[in-house]
């Protein structure tokens, strides 16, 4: 059509000069305040760098030395990294169990899960670790056996106390394991809430479809609901893991001293240069957390399969099948 519709406001151009509007090449909106903000930030960054370079008390050379000391590295591996991994395994495992209990039909399980979450969320980690470290004052011996075994045995006049095995709490009270138990139990309370939110986020129709196929409640949870819940569970769990890396510095409360922060601090103190000790610990924490963030993004991609963007591998498979036809 070369003639515009009748009644349009503009005067109708003659057929020969009609030129329909083409590609838009408009001037963008100007943002002068962005340039002001950039200038301010640049000045602040320059001031910061200048202070880092000119103030000799930072002493980065010494900080790098501290980072490489054997006790610091040992604290990093055996305390911070091992502590994080072990506590998170315990926390995630127990947390998922608690979440499933919390959502079960069984009122006893629901109440237990609720009470657990209530207690361990209210308990500061530092205090919990200190209590576990001192548990030996309350219970010197930990025994596993028949409940009330000692009382039963004495009333029946038996020679044994019905204990299968036991150990002295003080033998383990300053080991990383006590720290792992404390941090893991505390983490489970938070993970329980995260896992519960994840499970509730899965459409009810998924469980029904699995039910209609004759799957048992365990199969439905393991194979259908949890894998989909992971999409919601993984991002906050990454958050929790990164928080856990830093919370391992609380292990000194047990006291577990083979731990990154304390060891780095000790070196700074011994050299009468306390700041480089803090810098060394900070740099290690930054490195670990950066690595964890990369790992998290991979996990998110894996559990996001079937949602949103198509994974590359599936795309290749699909193209191959189409080519075969």
């Amino acid at each position: 059509m070369s003639t515009p519709a009748a009644g349009s406001g503009s005067p109708a151009p003659s057929a020969a000069t009609v030129d329909r509007p083409g590609v838009i090449n408009a001037r963008p909106v100007r943002h002068p305040w962005r340039w002001v903000a950039i200038a301010v930030i640049l000045v602040l960054v320059a001031m910061m760098i200048s202070s880092l370079v000119t103030n000799p008390k930072w002493d980065f050379g010494f900080a790098f030395q501290i980072m490489q000391q054997t006790p610091v590295l040992e604290g990093l591996w055996k305390g911070t990294i091992f502590g994080t991994i072990a506590s998170m395994i315990l926390g995630v495992g127990l947390g998922v169990v608690l979440a499933v209990m919390r959502l079960s039909d069984n009122p006893v399980l629901r109440a237990v899960a609720f009470a657990y979450t209530w207690f361990f969320r209210a308990m500061p980690r530092y205090v919990l670790l200190a209590i576990l470290g001192s548990l030996g004052f309350l219970y010197a011996q930990i025994r596993f056996g028949v409940p009330f075994g000692q009382q039963i045995a004495s009333s029946l006049g038996l020679s044994t106390d019905l204990t299968f095995f036991g150990f002295s709490w003080n033998d383990i009270s300053s080991t990383i394991w006590v720290g792992v138990i404390g941090l893991g139990l505390s983490e489970a309370a938070y993970m329980a809430e995260i896992a519960r939110a994840g499970i509730l986020s899965v459409d009810k129709g998924q469980d029904e479809a699995a039910r209609a196929l004759g799957m048992s409640s365990g199969q439905r949870m393991r194979r259908i609901v949890l894998p989909q819940a992971m999409r919601v569970i993984v991002p906050p769990t990454g958050n929790e893991t990164i928080a856990m890396v830093k919370d391992t510095s609380l292990l000194t409360a047990v006291p577990v001293l083979t731990e990154l922060y304390y060891q780095a601090y000790l070196f700074g103190q011994r050299g009468f240069k306390i700041i480089p000790g803090f810098v060394a610990a900070t740099l290690w924490y930054l490195i670990i957390c950066s690595i964890l963030m990369v790992g998290q993004s991979y996990l998110e991609k894996y559990f996001g399969r079937g949602f949103g963007a198509i994974p590359k591998k599936t795309k290749e498979k699909l193209m191959k099948i189409e080519a075969d036809h």
């Binding site: 209609a212 004759g214 799957m215 989909q228 599936t314 498979k317 699909l318 099948i321």
Partner: protein, 261 residues
């Protein structure tokens, strides 16, 4: 088969169900014989979907009894006293009953092939090789032989619903339940799903279909059951109920349906 020849595959007597004091089913009687296709019609809220879900125990019934292939669903009758079956026993009863949902409910984290293979492998513990072969045959039958590696999210609604049919058939069910299988589809995709269901009916599968597709009910059903307000209002061959309804409620409903279409 456990029950004598001539006994219905689905035998429902006086089925009652209420949600929070709201009576949804007020005593439904229904017999479906082997190889029959029965369409449940009726306005929304009439209880058709609820009745369908009671058959495979997705809802527990408050009164009456449902037998499928001679098995009392959900309970064990011990000398006149009913004992609720365990979850495991109910899961076993569901294995032989396939269900197709309005909103497909495919497992989005599994590929099309994995969706179809899941239950035979996990529930029946059949060998993977065999199941895979059967799954590919079923996908070919529903016209999706080229999509085994796709995820449900990459398929159209009609394709997803056909996968859902294949997934249910992979368990070799005696009975298939369809809960408004085309209601969530774009109009141009309804045909492909109905064609698949017609083909399934031609193989002699026993089917109970809740639907608003009058054409399908007229052509495929051996019997249509019209429900309203939690009771069966009228039932019979489609030629009678759809073409020449006797009850005033059936007449009103059918007039509305044809006006709408």
């Amino acid at each position: 088969m456990a029950n004598p020849a001539g006994a219905p595959l689905v035998h429902a007597v006086n089925v009652m169900k209420s949600f929070h004091g709201n009576d949804v089913l007020k005593g439904i009687d229904m017999d479906v014989h082997k190889g029959q296709v029965v369409c449940l019609l009726g306005p929304s809220g009439s209880g058709k979907t609820t009745f369908l879900r009671c058959i495979n125990q997705l809802e527990t019934i408050d009164g009456g009894r449902i037998w499928v292939d001679g098995d009392l669903m959900g309970y064990a009758d011990k000398g006149g006293v009913l004992h609720r079956l365990s979850d495991k026993a109910i899961a076993a009863q569901r294995r032989d009953i396939g269900m197709v949902f309005q909103r497909f409910n495919l497992f989005p984290h599994k590929t099309v092939l994995e969706n179809v293979m899941e239950a035979p492998i996990q529930v029946k513990r059949e060998p993977k090789k065999e199941v895979e072969q059967r799954a590919m045959e079923l996908l070919a039958k529903v016209g999706l032989a080229d999509k085994p590696a796709a995820y449900p999210g990459q398929l159209s609604g009609g394709q997803q619903q056909r996968v859902a049919i294949a997934r249910a058939l992979a368990m070799r069910p005696k009975l298939m339940l369809f809960d408004e299988p085309t209601s969530a589809l774009d109009p141009e995709l309804v045909g492909e799903v109905l064609t698949t269901m017609r083909e399934l009916a031609d193989t002699g599968m026993t089917m109970i279909v809740v639907t608003h597709e009058m054409g399908f009910a007229r052509d495929v059903a051996d019997r249509v059951v019209f429900m309203d307000g939690g009771v069966v209002v009228e039932e019979g061959p489609p030629s009678e109920v759809i073409s020449n309804p006797q009850n005033i409620r059936t007449k009103t409903f059918l007039r509305r349906m044809t006006e709408g279409g």
